[in-house]
């Protein structure tokens, strides 16, 4: 049984459907990327899971307990950072953690958490939050999401406002917690970052789930491609077609995929006396895959 089960959720705002039959699971210790364009329904989905918004049909079950708009006892072990950090301007970082830890006997170690989320240096813990930069507020928001030792953490654009080092450290922290069994549901537009982090992806578009897969399954659609400049592009295309590889010519570069490996391609080209002037290997890319998928989904509508 999955830690979080979202089953056939619908939500409408007036006549506009915000979520239609949304279903996906989050397993213990997994990092799931909820990905989609602006207005696709990512935040709406996250708000429904955290009991902030009602939904019409379907069920949300966390750790075996239902979550609805009016009944969310189960949220005791769910941390979240949705849209932007929720900060009281007159409280310090330490006071925020004290405040949010009051409703649990099982809170994280303040000192350790402040260190891991980098809110312990430079008198940070003693300064009022109204004086924090966007990045500092974001780090505090993440610390608040983690303070009650949650089993599931929901993070909406967690990398917003963070510098590259902080993004790297956050990635390490999330990975470390996932290894300890904490599950994450993360949405972000920084797809390169997400690609380095997530185990599973849930793609949402126009309020509908269009793909749920592991990262490996997801990239199986997007094969390795070799992009090259050759002494004779036309001959290369003919050679690729003869070998039943997929070939395109784009902006003067030949792009081949579908061969068993690169060695086969090079050997065949040597036999055909075609010189390779430059060669690039392009592996699976979340951004490209997502854009292709969304384009196909939009065409289908």
């Amino acid at each position: 049984m999955a830690l979080l089960e979202v089953k056939s959720i619908d939500k409408s705002f007036g006549k506009k459907k915000a979520m239609t039959n949304v279903s996906f699971n989050v397993e213990t210790g997994h990092i799931v990327g909820l990905i989609g364009p602006n207005g696709a329904g990512k935040s709406t989905t996250m708000r429904a899971i955290t009991g902030l918004m009602s939904y019409s049909n379907g069920t949300i079950v966390f750790d075996g307990k239902p979550i609805t708009f009016s009944n969310h006892q189960a949220l005791d072990k769910v941390g979240n950072l949705i849209e932007y950090p929720s900060i009281y301007p007159n409280l310090t970082a330490l006071e925020h953690l004290t405040l949010y830890a009051m409703d649990t006997k099982d809170s994280a170690d303040f000192k350790e958490l402040m260190h891991k989320t980098q809110i312990d240096g430079d008198n940070f813990g003693k300064r009022k939050a109204k004086n924090f930069s966007l990045g500092m507020k974001q780090r505090l928001g993440i610390a608040i999401a983690l303070i009650r030792n949650p089993k599931l953490v929901i993070l909406d654009e967690p990398m917003n406002g963070l510098d590259p080092q902080s993004v790297h450290d956050l990635r390490e922290l999330i990975r470390d917690l996932a290894n300890q069994g904490v599950a994450f549901l993360i949405s972000s537009h920084l797809l390169d970052e997400l690609q380095k982090l997530v185990d599973d992806v849930v793609i949402i578009n126009h309020g509908k789930i269009i793909e749920t897969a592991t990262m490996t399954e997801f990239f199986s659609h997007d094969k390795v491609r070799w992009v090259m400049d050759t002494s004779d592009n036309e001959a290369t295309v003919q050679l690729a077609k003869a070998n039943k590889w997929t070939v395109t010519v784009d902006d003067g570069h030949v792009q081949i995929s579908g061969a068993d490996n690169l060695q086969h391609v090079i050997t065949a080209m040597n036999h055909a006396d075609i010189q390779i002037k430059s060669l690039n290997t392009v592996t699976g890319n979340l951004e490209k895959s997502l854009l292709d998928m969304l384009a196909n989904d939009d065409k289908g509508e």
């Binding site: 708000r47 918004m53 708009f69 009016s70 849209e83 929720s86 405040l99 009051m102 409703d103």
Partner: protein, 255 residues
Amino acid sequence: MLTLMKQEYYKTFKQNRLYIWLGLSVIFPLAIMGIFKSQRGAGSITDLGHATFYVYLVGIIITALSVSQEFGFGTIRPLLSRRFSRGMIFTSKLLLNFSIYIALFIGAFIGTMIGQLIFAPNFDFSKRVSYAGNAWQTMGITVMGTLLQMIFVAALVLLITNLVKSSGAAIGLGVVMIVGTPILSTISMLLINMAPILKWNPFNIFIGMASYGQASPSVIKSMVHMSQGTVIIAYLVYIFIMYVIAYLIFKKRSV
């Protein structure tokens, strides 16, 4: 529920403005009695040095901010996305506000007592000063009447704040309810002239309650067309209805 209350107090005690407001509640009657020699008599002392007006106004502001700030800071999301029900959260806010009203009254009482000792040392609290009785009794009725009015207006303010998520409109309405009693009285009389059943309109009930302790029961009856006891019951019913509506709006609101 206790945890929620603890959290509400924790947030409140970390706000400097709470201490400023409480400090001013002590200073206000002292200043009134110190500056104006005419305000050292029974009328002023039983009205806590006219600090009931100050307590009323600050109470309205605190009530409006207690919900609107959570929306403004975005802290309403972590507040609602926990195991606690919205009913418990709403109740904790009400209890916090109510306890601050009491603290403000205590501050004003302390200020009044100090002011009396300094500026009116010969004032006799046992002397009959109004139809209600001696100075202590009159003061008690004035405080109780003001507190009940605050609870009524606070319900309206909460209702508006939950509807528009902004404190401005709610505070504005609260101030109108405080300073606009003559206007409300006129509106109410016009309504009653249109149809006697409209004596049950909330403005009329509010005016009846606002006059409690200020005028004798017979005067109040001729003014609002119902007995003092009926006014109190209608007032409590209105308070109940408005809090229920405010709660239902709060309960149904997506954030």
